[in-house]
Symmetry: C2
Subunit: 443 residues, 2 copies
């Protein structure tokens, strides 16, 4: 009988192993995709794309037993050759190739110049030819940054004794009310796709105190803007035993600080490729919703048209204000009007027209909504009744409160938006692998 | 202006801090849910449920400024008192309570005895009263084990240079063919929910070589069995530059080994609560599909009815065979018949009736399906044609191969099934927070 005992060493080496100086002058075997071929006559420069970065290979007539002219870009190859230093090459190394083994060949040239430093094409084209455009070194770097954000979120929350949960995306009722939900048929019964894990994470506070989830959410909003998606990844947490809703903002600040350090440490190459400067997270200012409106109205000579609403322009100006006045990249805007928040938001006992809730703005764009929730059963029923909402379909959610739940609150972070702002992009589709919007259902 | 600088220390302490011997005899402040109240007259034992475990509190007439009789189970409280040793109490400690602050009160007793060691109720009742049943210490321990599995999967794959991806769950076409997909209307266009991230993870092999995703998948199967769910969490990976499909099984073996060590190290309390013995993962036997059928037919005197199909009973017997013969908890069954695998599976060049694919059985239950995929564009088109399938809706997927893709393969692991087998449960709903099946859409 044959047995498997785990991963076994490979003959081929990865980029970080090639950077080990003791290998210089040695023969190495390396695989990768042919990123670019530059034919200089007797000499050709073939750049391989590996997961760890680019690797320059020299094909030399007489030395290399393969004609670089026969090599098509986006072939997968395995080359054997001598590892040498070259200050001009990526990472300061190159392989002088002896032998080439072609593992696979493309049948057609991609519709985009993958090998260019910047793709220089429209967003539309990038999205239409996604499996080509993402191979570009700058494009793929953005989604490594995205990985770092999710890792940072999880690892920080694990360290803060949160438990990870997985809640269903098909349900009988939406958490945020009737509109904006995608409807489907579930074995002859009407069902909807989850707009957020809100109800479930609150239910789980009674189980683990602190929980988080990183999962897709679905919004059937008919917005076609640069910052809306109809499906996105939401980083959600919910925590019990809070003393005030500031505890939630403090936890988010901690996450951001941890994540920026993680990105600096483990995603330095991607930060360099994208030429990014990380935002400041040491201290994040906190301002009341109404005060923020006044500050912006005062400084930028705007009229406050509606004291209970924040227009996107106002958000942008709040971002600008705090950058100019405090050199702050982030700002927590607190005490949103009750009317603008869902029924489960905790109203401010000092002034119930407002809630103990917040948004986090990053350079003027909302990337998080959070706050304290109502934990008292009667208070929740009263709020539902005051809004003329039905308890139907929420029995299980409401039972959670009937059986008792500690004071708690939480938040949801839009992963693609946070990535977008971190990468300095203007359109959230730039930092979504396969975006879903009003017109896009493919690829 | 006020600023937030991250998480600030709390007056209340958590269980692991209470286990610090230097605190014995000191005054401590602790919060938690009232798990059980046992009234002994002048003395009452109040057990608090905290995220880290249970904590015994002593309420003493004359000493405690609160009457334990007034305390309802599932209240959230904050108690102040003296930390003392008591070998009979959980973790060997207890708090002799001076003061009690009630943070929230329940309005009704839960329909289940949360505080019992074993709930002793039907699965149906557990699922119907989910936000009560999950508060039981044994019930919640299972989902901590589940967390450990997902953490192990991610952390191991990060260490193997995989990149995490987030792919859309709404799409225009299912990866595995037309049936068994949930249909929905997407802004007046027909759409489906993803049965797996298969197409996307293959597309991403061209970008990062190695990718993984941990996300929900949706199967509109009309099975009502103990091991089927209509929505589950799939742990998926896909890796390029494989030398053979054994590389994929080796990677899975590595993941299992890593995860068992992680569970032993960081989830020891949960393993103890559930009284679990972890399965053996040092070496996992590997047997061909046809050979496995023969072995089982021989040993257990069964007739092979269909050489191209594996019945659930046969799977169970394969598990039994390898447990008896090799003391193996897991077994890789390889070379599944081509007919039983999707079009993208790589046929075995030595015998194209079979594929370079495998299932991993855990005590006779399939918890993983994986294998090598076709990476050659023409070969893929031929296979589609041979199956009478249309290329329609797959243009973007097929383009990935047209532009070139290295040899690759991958797998998908059903998280809830793996948790079920690890926890020794018989029904996958026991290890699903909020299961979705033919009859269940709530909570």
């Amino acid at each position: 009988m044959e047995f498997l005992r785990g991963v076994t060493p490979k003959e081929t080496v990865e980029l970080e192993e090639l950077l080990d100086a003791s290998r210089l002058g040695c023969e190495v075997k390396v695989n990768g995709m042919v990123h670019t071929v530059r034919d200089m006559g007797e000499l050709s420069f073939v750049v391989l794309r590996k997961r760890g970065g680019l690797l320059q290979c020299i094909f030399e007539e007489g030395f290399t037993q393969y004609d670089a002219k026969a090599l098509r870009e986006e072939s997968a190859v395995e080359v054997t050759g001598l590892l040498e230093q070259d200050a001009r090459a990526p990472h300061g190394i190159e392989v002088r190739v002896k032998e080439v083994k072609v593992l696979s060949v493309p049948y057609d040239a991609p519709p985009l110049s993958i090998g260019k430093w910047k793709l220089g094409t429209s967003l539309e084209a990038k999205l239409n030819y996604r499996s080509a455009s993402l191979r570009n070194v700058r494009e793929r770097a953005k989604f490594r940054i995205q990985e770092g954000i999710v890792r940072g979120f999880r690892d920080y929350l694990y360290s803060q004794q949160f438990t990870e949960i997985h809640t269903p995306k098909i349900g009988s009722k939406g958490a945020e009310g009737g509109s904006n939900v995608f409807k489907l048929e579930y074995f002859h019964r009407p069902a909807v796709l989850a707009q957020s894990p809100q109800f479930y994470k609150q239910m789980m506070v009674g189980v683990y105190d602190r929980v988080f989830e990183t999962a897709p959410v679905f919004r059937a909003e008919k917005h076609n803007t640069k910052r809306h998606l109809n499906e996105y990844t939401s980083l959600d947490f919910e925590m019990g035993y809070i003393d005030s809703f500031e505890d939630i903002m403090k936890m988010e600040t901690g996450f951001l600080q941890y994540t920026m350090r993680l990105l600096e440490r483990e995603y330095a190459q991607e930060l360099q490729i994208l030429n990014l400067t990380l935002p400041k997270t040491e201290e994040i200012p906190m301002v009341r919703f109404d005060r923020a409106k006044e500050l912006v109205a005062g400084k930028y000579s705007r009229k406050i048209r509606n004291p209970y609403d924040l227009e996107p322009e106002e958000e942008t100006l709040i971002g600008q204000y705090f950058k100019e006045e405090y050199d702050a990249d982030f700002v927590f805007v607190t005490h949103y009007p009750s009317k603008k928040r869902p029924f489960y938001a905790m109203d401010d006992p000092a002034d119930p027209r407002f809630t103990l809730s917040f948004d986090l703005l990053f350079h003027g764009l909302e990337i998080t909504t959070g706050g304290q929730r109502i934990h008292d059963y009667r208070m929740l029923l009263d709020k539902l009744a005051a809004r003329g909402m039905t308890e139907e379909g929420m029995e299980q959610y409401l039972a959670t409160f009937k059986y008792g739940l500690p004071p708690h609150g939480g938040l949801g972070i839009g992963l693609e938006r946070l990535t977008m702002k971190l990468c300095g992009e203007e359109n959230v589709r730039e930092t979504t692998l396969f975006p879903r919007d009003l017109s896009r259902l493919e690829p």
